[in-house]
Symmetry: C2
Subunit: 275 residues, 2 copies
Amino acid sequence: MKTLTGRDLAAAIRTQTQAESAAGPQPRLAVVVATADEASLWYVRSIAKAAAGVGIDCDVVDLGPDATPEQIGETLTRLSADPNVHGVMLQTPLPAGASAQELAAAIDPRKDVDGANPLSLGRLAAGLPAFPPATAAAVMALLDHHEVDLLGRRAVVVGRSTVVGKPLAHLLLDRHATVTVCHSRTRDLAAVTSTAEVLVAAVGRAGLIGAAHVAPGAVVIDVGTNPTDDGGLTGDVDFDAVAGVAGALTPVPGGVGPVTTALLLRHTARAANLP
Amino acid sequence: MKTLTGRDLAAAIRTQTQAESAAGPQPRLAVVVATADEASLWYVRSIAKAAAGVGIDCDVVDLGPDATPEQIGETLTRLSADPNVHGVMLQTPLPAGASAQELAAAIDPRKDVDGANPLSLGRLAAGLPAFPPATAAAVMALLDHHEVDLLGRRAVVVGRSTVVGKPLAHLLLDRHATVTVCHSRTRDLAAVTSTAEVLVAAVGRAGLIGAAHVAPGAVVIDVGTNPTDDGGLTGDVDFDAVAGVAGALTPVPGGVGPVTTALLLRHTARAANLP
């Protein structure tokens, strides 16, 4: 069983991104936050730190957990119009009553470095240039880095979120995989997932995918980042159980996560260099 | 085997649409054409005739087969800005060098009654209100009309086009089906399609789906409209062969086609009534 680590790939992407950052105008990423959720704030701080490491300015625009949808929308519109800002990201969760999908429509698609605007998703689905969500892009980058063939292969994505499952299905289709999307209403999940040559778990339920869900030799990508009682992270895949069946498996932490952050920064550097 | 005819459903939709048309401002559909393709021109004439039948004005804006992408884009922009036009549709095929996906971005999403703008597809994927492509909507309307249960069932869509396969996958996911998308690169197509409880063929290859592709009792929807030598139409499904295996099957012609045209008109009437 091969462990598909993400740290080396993330480091390589950061090195490239640093060069791309230095080559053009000074890139600036703005992250809009409207939550008191500790895990979310921790993630935003890790983005800011990683950005500094590759020469990208990062503004955290914290509107607080009581921000209204109007305030969030106005902030996204203002940042989209600011010529000194190249990437705009809306961090979730949002206050009750605020819809990330609706609000993200205010992000200029050219600055939509986390692929949150429905227009970005539609362009992706239609095969037009667009920034995919960084997490979905990270899954593809990991598969490519570890030279996993996709053409004509059966890929199963567990999870149908707008930020991972759905855009990932389009990215996999674009690479000529036969793609199945499963979710909470899927009957006999293990029967479906065990047909996968490439299995992606993106649900947010610790240990959902066990040995019985995985075909022998399958490549398994774990997008889950579920907090553990001891303050750590664990994936959607029962690593120890699945390691005995899968041909290759990403760890959590250290798999998709670091690549996601690195790609968010790459997207920002590229947005700064758009003609 | 139940034949899932579309004519009765189409007639019912037209009757409703006529009432909706009469209730608000006079609806007007503009169809932009830039082809000499006979089948395409025939389809546009059939739309215009059906529109007249339900009290919808229909303008066919024929730019000719030599129209440039710029001319097509300007026409779509002008019609999108015209307050007397409520629905705008870009008929394919287009002249070489013109991309329907790129050009359709010029259609105001509120007038995009055939769901061609990538923003409409993205909004559909994100679960936001949008007009789906009429063909994809027709498949769902036929399934509902014939009371086909979708929750938790395995649906397989053959074909990954932006106008049918991809939006249909989102519509089926939204109804809690487990959805697989197959295409020309799928290995062992019959092995995948024969897992389907609901199978949709949307490829454009006459007779592609035979008895070996279909599970006993499956519901089969044929979106194909392939011209025959005698000037008729035939589907992607080998009707006679599959009729011996499937539980239910749409005919071609007389299945998805009439419902598609009726829904295009319903979308136009609804666009005219948008607040």
